[in-house]
Amino acid sequence: MSRKRALIADTFCLTKRRRCAADSVTDGAADIRSSLQYLMTLFSRKLFNDSLPPVVLKHQLYSLHNDKTSVDKQVNELRENGDLLMFQLGFDSEAFALVFAEDYRTKVLQGEAGRETLGTVEKFLAKLIPGCSDLSFNKEKMLKEFLFTDPAITQLVKSGVLTVRDAGSWWLSIPNSGKFIKYFIKGRKAVLGMVKKSKYGEILKTELEGHHTTSQVKFQMKYHIHEIMGAELVESIQTTSGTLLRYVDGNVN
């Protein structure tokens, strides 16, 4: 009801809209960056012995902001500027991981220190970070635009920066992210199971955050909760006692 009333007021009261329009536009970009930073703090670094940069999933942002279209637009802007990198994780065609470019660079170089692939990886990162915002690369691009040779490409795949997509093309990836994806999928399944097993298949968000984590759940509960809310695997309903999460039937997981 209240949503409808707010929208009607907009249509009929034009003066109010003109005054607030100016503020909301500038707030937008700063908001996404601060939400990203908040979500990065929820990522548990110690779990991976500090070898991974903090990773956030794009749909976690949808749980923090109402307007999905503007979130998408701002994420794309940050990517164009070269501040943010986006990766395609293998398990879902719609799930994208976001990492700040600086964090990615430091972690990858830290992981490569002392190995013979260091030089090639540095060259690749130098080409990638300011200019290119692609998620995958095919052979012609690597050979002609980036001027890499075949053995150099093999070195990049060995170091984990590229993963095979199909014959002659590669996804951009985060080195050592296999463990991350494994723990992530297990944790997501466990958290969804917790929501499903609760009475009536629904649980208050604050209650779920306070739940003790089973051995399956390696990440923080809040990280998983933002993720399942943003991916709409649970329905979030506003109640007088806070947000209620209700399990949605028909999930594949």
Partner: protein, 398 residues
């Protein structure tokens, strides 16, 4: 509201502005109406609804039992409690030309109510004469006809586009002897553009949506690509597809400039129909489990336009360009299959597997409840006085 009326009267505002603002307000207050009922004739689910364009008075419905019913939507009785009566039925016992299997699509002839076209899973498409309720023309196909559509703007020739599934040939969109090939899977939905009478869009199970120009029946004009040509985003099989699953619903906006498509990957996408570009409006998860075509509709004449999509057993209302979910209209007992918007009264009719057609009517401004209560306390003999004019210091007992 008064400012809008004054602005219109003094010429400050365009007359359309008041109409749009009021239409939007009415659509936002859509609710299931207890007073309005539609006669329940179908014994099985309702697959399709269509309201005629001329008066907006008569509605056609086609059901899974092969029955077609025509309803009169106008309220001629003076009472608010009204049932939309079924005027005539093409039923199993009554008519021997009735379809044998489920009727998938019905549509009135766009220029008058003299005839309508229906297509069904019994592999035929029939053109009916409304007066006699006999088919004037019958087309036989080789496969189940999933959907058909007649161009709403064609003046010179009326073409009907029908799509069907066929085991032997790759699917084609057939119109009065012209066959358009190009899709690699069954075509589930077809729509003519309301802006140009030669542009046609088709959606199929091979995850692609193609736009055709019927004047050159050689190949499609273009395919809609969800990543807008950014080949790096998709996995290699999914390059150049509109959705990551079957595409089963299509709808043009009223001005024909945008096209909406829904797919079984639980996504709805808005495309620019001129360039084929994905406008990247994110509607979130639009639950879609339908194995055949989904019929959804867009509002006409409102200022932010709304999309009404059947989602499971309710109808979801989204803002067209903003992508936000405005509300869910709940009322059906089972899956909703089709919905139809009435632009003149801003009403929505939806039909589904529970054999009901529900009418969603805007809630009018309620009269003040406080006046009635104080009235009954005083015995109801005096007329209701506006509390602003009541004096608080005089007492009746003096």
């Amino acid at each position: 509201m008064l400012s809008f009326l004054y602005a219109r009267q003094s010429g400050l505002d365009d007359p359309v502005r008041l109409r749009r603002a009021e239409s939007t307000r009415r659509v936002l207050s859509l609710e299931l109406n207890h007073n309005r009922d539609v006669d329940r004739i179908h014994g099985n689910g309702i697959n399709t609804l269509d309201t005629e364009v001329i008066d907006g008075r008569y509605m056609l419905s086609g059901g899974s039992d092969g029955v077609i019913v025509i309803y009169d939507l106008e309220n001629n009785s003076k009472k608010p409690q009204y049932t939309c009566k079924a005027i005539c039925t093409v039923g199993r016992s009554v008519c021997r030309h009735v379809h044998k299997f489920s009727v998938e699509t019905v549509q009135w002839y766009p220029h008058d109510t003299g005839m309508f076209v229906s297509s069904s899973f019994d592999k035929t498409m029939k053109v009916w004469d409304t007066e006699t309720l006999k088919p004037a023309e019958e087309f036989q196909f080789d496969g189940n006809v999933y959907c058909h559509h007649m161009s709403p703007v064609a003046r010179k020739q009326s073409l009907v586009a029908g799509v069907f599934s066929d085991q032997t040939k790759p699917s084609a969109c057939e119109m009065v002897n012209v066959s358009l090939t190009g899709h690699r899977g069954e075509i589930l939905s077809v729509r003519w553009s309301p802006r140009y009478d030669h542009i046609l869009a088709t959606a199929s199970t091979d995850s692609r949506v193609r736009i055709w120009d019927v004047r050159r029946a050689s190949g499609s004009l273009f395919t809609l690509d969800q990543h807008n040509g950014d080949k790096s985003k998709a996995s290699s099989e999914a390059v150049n597809t509109a959705h990551n699953g079957r595409v089963n619903g299509l709808c043009f906006t009223a001005d024909g400039l945008h096209l909406l498509s829904t797919g079984t990957d639980d996504r709805m996408r808005l495309w620019n129909s001129g360039t084929g570009e994905n406008t990247l409006v994110n509607y979130g998860k639009v639950v879609n489990e339908s194995r055949k075509g989904l019929k959804f509709t867009v509002s006409r004449g409102c200022s932010p336009e709304f999309v009404f999509v059947p989602c499971g057993s309710s109808v979801a209302v989204y803002g067209l360009h903003s992508g936000e979910l405005i509300t869910m209209l709940r009322g059906h007992y089972n899956n909703v299959d089709c919905c139809e918007f009435h632009p003149d009264y801003q009403e929505l009719y939806s039909g589904g597997k529970d054999c009901n057609i529900l009418a969603w009517v805007p809630v009018l401004r309620q009269p003040g409840i406080e006046d009635d209560e104080t009235n009954s306390k005083r015995g109801g003999t005096q007329a209701a006085i506006n509390p602003a004019f009541e004096d608080a210091w005089s007492s009746d007992e003096d």
